[in-house]
Amino acid sequence: MSRSLVKFAAIILVIAAILYVGLYGLDFTDKVRIPGVLDEDGITQGLDLKGGTVIVYKAQTDNPTDDNMDTVVSMLRTRLDGQGYTEATLTRQGTDKVRVELPDVQDAQQAVETLGATAQLKFVDSNNEEVMNGSDVKNATAEYGQTEQGLSSSSYYISLELTDEGRDKFATATQRIAGQSADNTNYIAILMDDQPLSVPRVSEKIDSNSCIITGNFDAESAKALAANIKSGQLPFSLEQVEVRTVSATLGDEAMKNAVTAGIIGLILVMLFMLLFYRLLGLMADIALVGYVGIVLIIISNLHVNLTLPGIAGIILSIGMAVDANVVIFERIKEELKLGKTVRSAVDAGFNRALSAVIDSNVTTIISAVILWLLGTGTIKGFGITLLIGIVVSMLSAIFVTKFLLKQMIGMNVKQLWLYGINGTRQEVGSLKGGKA
């Protein structure tokens, strides 16, 4: 008996420790640590909780290749970084779409359109013949200052650094164009996606590896354009087919309510199990606390992107988690009613219920995996939390609860009432008399 008591106490301590780590994390040193959900870096909140903007771009071309789309993603990455959206995440969606998530960004109107632009930079002469294009540009930066000597006002402009090849092209072209001053066609048009940015006049040969583009820019448009020029030209243009913004306050409130709902739900389920299955229920409750702890540890350490449906999935899984226990306990009760000893009833109950537990969970796992792999956005988030919930709950019901029950039996707790059975064995047995 004492050995069982020690084991029982040990597992309770372990479960308490798991819950503690799940909540508060464990810091070995500053760097070697396990974050808990209450830590700053504990939960990776999805956009619907944190607030921000989601943009889905669709390639404006038929059947883009995988390579093309990968290029698009990496170029978008550069453009985003260039505009200071370093927190942004990019994912490919389907065959021709890219999903951009900008956390904390409420007003992304600006970003939305420039991000998807082809960014085809062209310098053309009066005959619309190309002189130079984006590939001749080594670097582009947005700057602020006087664009011309003697001009009193300052403005934003884009400074280009040309490649050697670009410098040669530019020198040749400007020499030629400067010669056209007679018929007033000595100008170069700088086009961005076929929209003129500026149309400067050329009066002499320009042999330099830098040049500037002026235009009606403000700080942000200049920066965005520079980033686009620098990242290069997309193989095709992108149009946003979906733009969503969520304010952070909405997510905050949602999170708080969901957590409250989860705690109350958890308590109700624990009470229900305790009232209905008594000692068995208590064991299930202890295992359930361990389950919650493990799930918390997993979501805060695998950095699962937690969305609102994801939280609902976790809370739902608390209700589902006791399911395996219910199946097993009902079976144990049946075995007890047949007159078996507590020990053999528990063994038989577990063994016989095992197939039902596994089969019913696997079917749910199938759905969760499909949601996780094929779903997008919040659906994906829900799929992963559901999957974690089911797998952990199944294992906890099978192993943890069984271990706890074994120790109970080891401690000689054998009153049938404690196992959820009312009346004496004979009465119970006669009730089931008709069974084949």
């Binding site: 007003d107 011309e148 300052s154 929209q195 040049c211 229900f272 589902m320 199938i366």
Partner: protein, 381 residues
Amino acid sequence: MFDIVKKKWIFLGISIALCAISIISLIVQGFNLDTDFAGGMAVTYEINEAFTVAEVQEIVDNALGNDQSPSSVQQSGNEVIVKFGFDNSLQTDEERSDFSMTKIAAITSALQEKYGTPAPAEDANAVDENSEDTAAPDASATPEASASAQPDATASATPEDSEAATAEASEAPADATAASPEASAAPEQPATGVVLKNQDIVSPSTGQELARSAMWMSILACIAILLYVTFRFEFTSGVVAVVALTHDVLVLLGVYSVLQLSVDTNFIAAVLTVLGYSINNTIVIMDRIRENTRHARKETYGEIANSSILQTMTRSINTTITTLLTIGMVYILGVPSIQVFSLPIIIGIVVGFYSSVFVSGPLWAMWRDSGVKNKKKAVAK
């Protein structure tokens, strides 16, 4: 002993009726599709002035103009949600995205004209500028677009007046300071005027793709479950399980169609959850049937099914209760967006309980017993 299998026609009748109503409703009135599916714009504004919905509706209608599918304005507290669809004449994604940007900017500036702007005057100018641009076909409502639209004008008006624009090969003039004073105008404003809080712009094609991908996910899940159950049990059980599943999803869809509840992306996740979870009870019953069949001697399949259902009844009820306790709390305490997600799950769990207990067992018994009868007939011949 209560005999569910003998009274099967009552239960099957209820199910068939529910499915029939669902199918008819789905065909006749379909779904009340949210912006997620139908495509369109849903914009939330916070208005920190006294306003009425009718007032806002009028402003919105004026801002949108005539060439427009009807808009709706809903109020919750000091926020209004303005929803409107795309113009049907818009063909390409580009046209649609320009359209949405332009129209939203138009509504925003119209509302701000009436109820005031939250930010300093500078920003208000920016907004006005945008709304002026709306006439130009290619201009969309971002400052970028207006920036690029202007040089356009310069270009067409002969290059002479482009003095301001120089490409003089240059050492970049004067030391440029990267600091951008206006760029950081956004932070902390007092709560006045009209603030655009949320905006959802969804192209119609997105909704269709979403529905298509949801359908594929459902079909895939059904096939995978059918295969698994056939492998672990036998084919009859697999088919019965999938029939029960289809029943649950159909009735769930039916409830949403009959009551015209709004259907969005999260609804799909909920339906797929029901798909995975409602089968739980069925599987536990099938597991019992599998076990009882092994020990059975003279019992008919009907008797086996019935005793299996009754033996697992407490468990079916209790599991349903614990699941409803948690998801029910989410529904009661949650914010609207999470309620929208939990309601279909609640409906699905209840329907799933019904189909597992009252439909799947009897169906299985009918099929197996008919197999027996056919064999007997064959023997008699």
